[in-house]
Symmetry: C2
């Protein structure tokens, strides 16, 4: 059998099967060794090909698509350090449970570890951060090896997707010559089982009816219960958790990434200002629960984390369909491995519905008071980070996605972005909480879901500037709110801020860049915001623009710290007054 | 013992010892978890602190310093994907044998794998690409643990440096609160052995005198021998290899990264145009050797690699002081693990010196003819990549370093940059030959060695645009020759170019960026070159400028291919005529 025929048939079988598993998007970084796979993929009529020069951005771009679609996306690169650039996004995918199929081209065996160019050890390159690694067999066009390529492909997609979702890595040894024969009419004809070689049905973790009934019985005994929903992105979770909360009459403390603060479900039990009022010790005493039920990853709010820790002596149930161990303070008493939506549905059936719950009322009352008082942020006339986030829920159009950077933006969102009746999907990279790859992840999501707003700080914006290239090359619409406080704003809130000697050098790290240049290079529109009037009009004006649009809001790190502190102190005083009966 | 005291003493002992091992430079990326190490390092009077926001660039920047100084450099970052961004540079360091001390901060044990923020599995994060990994003990201020911190540090530096040099990784679990007490007067006082806890003397591999004599006897028997010097950067290698060549009367085929084409040593035996004339089969027949002695990594030239492979039936000696296996075509007959400089010195003592060697004359004659004919490139009036490289040896000032990008630049340098009597150090990232991190590596080297010229293509320039920030923040002088052919120029030379349907999409990948914007953002000077006159005057004018200066030379990928092909064909005809006696 001739080399090209072996190569082409094997790769085409793999790619055809990949499409059958439901993969629609492939992000390719240019290279020579990956030629057979890249050309065969480009030939497939049902694959969308996205090209990205910088592999680090490419992998985050794919992560964004996969997050948005909740489906596996494939990435492909050549041999060598190209693949190593995937590492940050792979780790993020691993911890945030996003399915990625990582395909790397490698030198064939005889060119490994012998000083051949661009040859590095790619076996288990991503260590424990992928769910599955396969060193693929060299290409062969025998029935057996075509079946092998197809079944490995189907299996890889299934592993990536099954809960907890995550990345898988297949490493392909390709020998020269590398150009496949893509001119064949029947390139993607599958000789057997033309609908796909093996379809994988994966169930979700679910408990027995007896166990649900038992757990419902336990939960029903409590009056003082709270539900904590951290980052979680399941399609039907919102309506089912709100039904369960309604039956139990428990408040739901909803992290911005729980997807519960926006949407069409009932918001009656949603508590969204806890990050502020749980800083107050009177409040924590008044709201002390007897049981906590927790879903999703750990919430963003440090105040809430501390509250959970302080209540370590009560039963704490953690429901995790991905069977992880999301319990940083070791406070969990019952770890329940069960699909979250299924759990809510099944428990609700057996719960003896309460009519009224004073404890719930107290939570809702304080939450309402807190939000009323927090609205004071609107009085600030200068450009302010808090006010910006406060206004987002009003400004952002229904149906949009809001992608939020780590460090300050996600925290400000937590504090200032409250319940609303729009459908706004909130996204962030909260697997490893890095400041890397945020632009690319958001633009990847924007490629499949519109409209898209991204809000990031200047260091995060800088870290992934290369990610903007995709918006230019593919005319992807993305609106970026760039909060530029010239450095690492979050450090002002940390104990490091008490060390003036090294603060600016090691933590503040101002980089003094005029980002307008970068935005122009990528054919973007740049608005430097100097007032709230201008911000509002720019925001509205940009709404229907296509391509890249960046609004830069310059703020001051020191003033931002003072604004936050003063506001929290003010609200805290008001809450204490209320609780202590001072009018 | 109080937490802060434990933390401070342990970290200070480590840092004090690090300085004693000879480390002068530390590249730090801002983060919270790394606070104890960062602050203690900043306090040390003998450490130069370089701050880099983007960890990928940071690690390459450190690589550049370490390459230039031939000494270990430390890098430090916070926990999470920050560390994963180091991976490409670590792999490059591993394969190019550059000493790096990678320090990562990690969550303490109780916060690992439990969903804590920014906590990822950092144990063996870089897999087999580091020479040593240590999960450090938690900080303690006992005599025993301070000795431990110091001896691990000394050992890490020694391992990183010893041949083959490479990266080591130490992972530090730090518990909150993270701020150390750096105000202490005696912070770096070492209670015992104030000159450093343990000094490590590492010998080099060397053979016995009997073995040297035996090998010298074998080599002396050959008339038709050639010496191939690939990438190698040892301080006294040049003078010793030229002495050995003179004794044996063998030509030295000197890769541009062998550091043999420039410098003060004798160039009488240096052959520098083989990449052109070894494309000619008449020539390869006429110059067929009976023995090959090879030093350093595999040379850049594909023509030379093929020539080595075609002569697999003759004895091929490979001398490798790092005891690797640099033999991609499996043609080596004798693998000799011995320090390269020591080998040359010792063998030369026992060689029976020849007076004359016709075989050598033939090599030198064809080399000379080739260079005469190659000079035709100078007649091209348009901007041309080949001509640019041809002119470099004349233009670049004595004592400068020339850093060269991968893909086309290193190949053009090989073809067009010939022997000269200046001291020009040539650098490139030839461990894994990536297009990533080149700007940062060059700027890192520029931080410790001046003047520095970097020549790169547009995709390489784009890939590490973030690297330019260091030049701005630290006013580092670097002159960049940006060869902009709007895409991946090397692919035009590969078989992929025969596939027009997908060529531009997958391989050509034009990105159409006006890089002037980026250069301006980093306060650089940008010259768009439109003619050779302008190039020459800009080059001279920029010579004494400080900071970042970019000269963009726009070329055309198709025309570049034709120019190269036509020139090679022309020279090849001339060589054949000469060999076949046609005047």
């Amino acid at each position: 059998m001739d080399h090209q025929e072996n190569l082409t048939a094997y790769v085409a079988a793999f790619v055809a099967e990949l499409v059958k598993t439901g993969v629609k998007d492939v992000v390719i970084s240019p290279g020579s060794r990956s030629t057979p796979m890249a050309m065969v993929m480009a030939e497939h009529p049902d694959l969308r090909i996205h090209i990205h020069i910088d592999e680090r951005s490419a992998a985050f771009f794919a992560l964004g698509i996969a997050k948005s679609l909740r489906k596996p996306v494939a990435i492909l690169c050549t041999s060598g350090t190209a693949a190593a650039n995937y590492y940050p996004a792979i780790i993020e995918a691993h911890y945030s449970r996003v399915p990625l199929i990582v395909l790397t081209a490698d030198r064939p065996h005889e060119l490994r570890d012998v000083g051949a160019p661009q040859a590095i050890d790619q076996i288990h390159l991503f260590g424990k951060h992928v769910k599955w690694f396969v060193e693929m067999a060299p290409p062969e066009k025998t029935d057996e090896m075509l079946r092998y390529a197809r079944s490995v492909c189907a299996r890889a997609a299934a592993i990536a997707l099954r809960s907890p979702s995550g990345p898988v890595h297949l490493n392909f040894p390709f020998r020269e010559p590398l150009v496949p024969n893509v001119g064949k009419e029947d390139l993607f004809d599958l000789p057997v089982r033309s609908d796909g070689y093996v379809s994988v049905e994966t169930g979700e973790l679910t408990l027995s009816e007896e166990k649900y009934e038992e757990l419902a019985g336990i939960l029903s005994q409590y009056d003082k219960g709270i539900i904590v929903c951290g980052p979680l992105d399941e399609e039907f979770f919102a309506e089912n958790i709100t039904k369960l909360a309604s039956a139990l009459k428990f408040p739901i403390l909803a992290d911005p990434l729980s997807q519960l603060r926006s949407g069409k479900h009932s918001k009656d039990y949603i508590v969204d200002a806890y990050d502020t009022f749980l800083r107050n010790s009177d409040c924590k005493k008044a709201l002390k629960p007897d049981i906590i039920i927790r879903f999703g990853a750990m919430p963003v709010s440090k105040a809430l984390s501390i509250f959970i820790k302080e209540n370590m002596n009560i039963p704490q149930f953690v429901i995790d369909g991905g069977a992880g161990w999301r319990d940083p303070a070791a406070t969990t008493s019952n770890m329940i491995y069960c699909n979250e939506t299924e759990f809510c549905k099944s428990i609700a059936k057996y719960v003896s519905e309460k009519n009224h719950n004073q404890f719930l009322d107290k939570w809702l009352e304080i939450n309402k008071l807190t939000k009323t008082k927090l609205s004071k942020i609107n009085d600030i006339e200068e450009l302010s980070e808090g006010k910006l986030f406060y206004q987002l829920a009003d400004l952002i159009p229904d149906g949009a996605t809001l992608f939020v950077g780590n460090s300050m933006p996600i925290r400000d969102l937590d504090t200032f972005f409250h319940v609303n009746d729009k459908s706004i999907r909130i996204m962030a990279n909260r697997g490893a909480n890095g400041i890397d790859g945020i632009i690319s992840t958001a633009i990847g999501a924007a490629a499949v879901s519109q409209p898209m707003y991204l809000i990031v700080g200047d260091l995060t914006f800088f870290h992934d500037l290369n990610g903007l290239l995709a918006a230019k090359l593919y005319d992807i619409n993305i609106k970026i709110l760039l909060v530029n406080n010239n450095g690492g704003g979050i450090f002002s809130f940390l104990p490091q801020a008490s060390q003036p000697k090294y603060f600016e050098l090691l933590f503040g790290t101002p980089i003094d860049l005029n980002f307008e240049y970068a935005v122009r290079m990528y054919n973007g529109k740049f608005d430097k915001i100097t007032s709230w009037e201008q911000f509002n009009s720019s925001f509205l004006r940009n709404m229907d623009d296509s391509g890249l649009s960046v609004m830069e809001i310059s703020t001051d790190r020191d003033r931002n710290l003072i604004e936050h502190r003063e506001l929290w102190n003010y609200v805290s005083r008001e809450i204490s007054n209320k609780i202590n009966g001072v009018s």
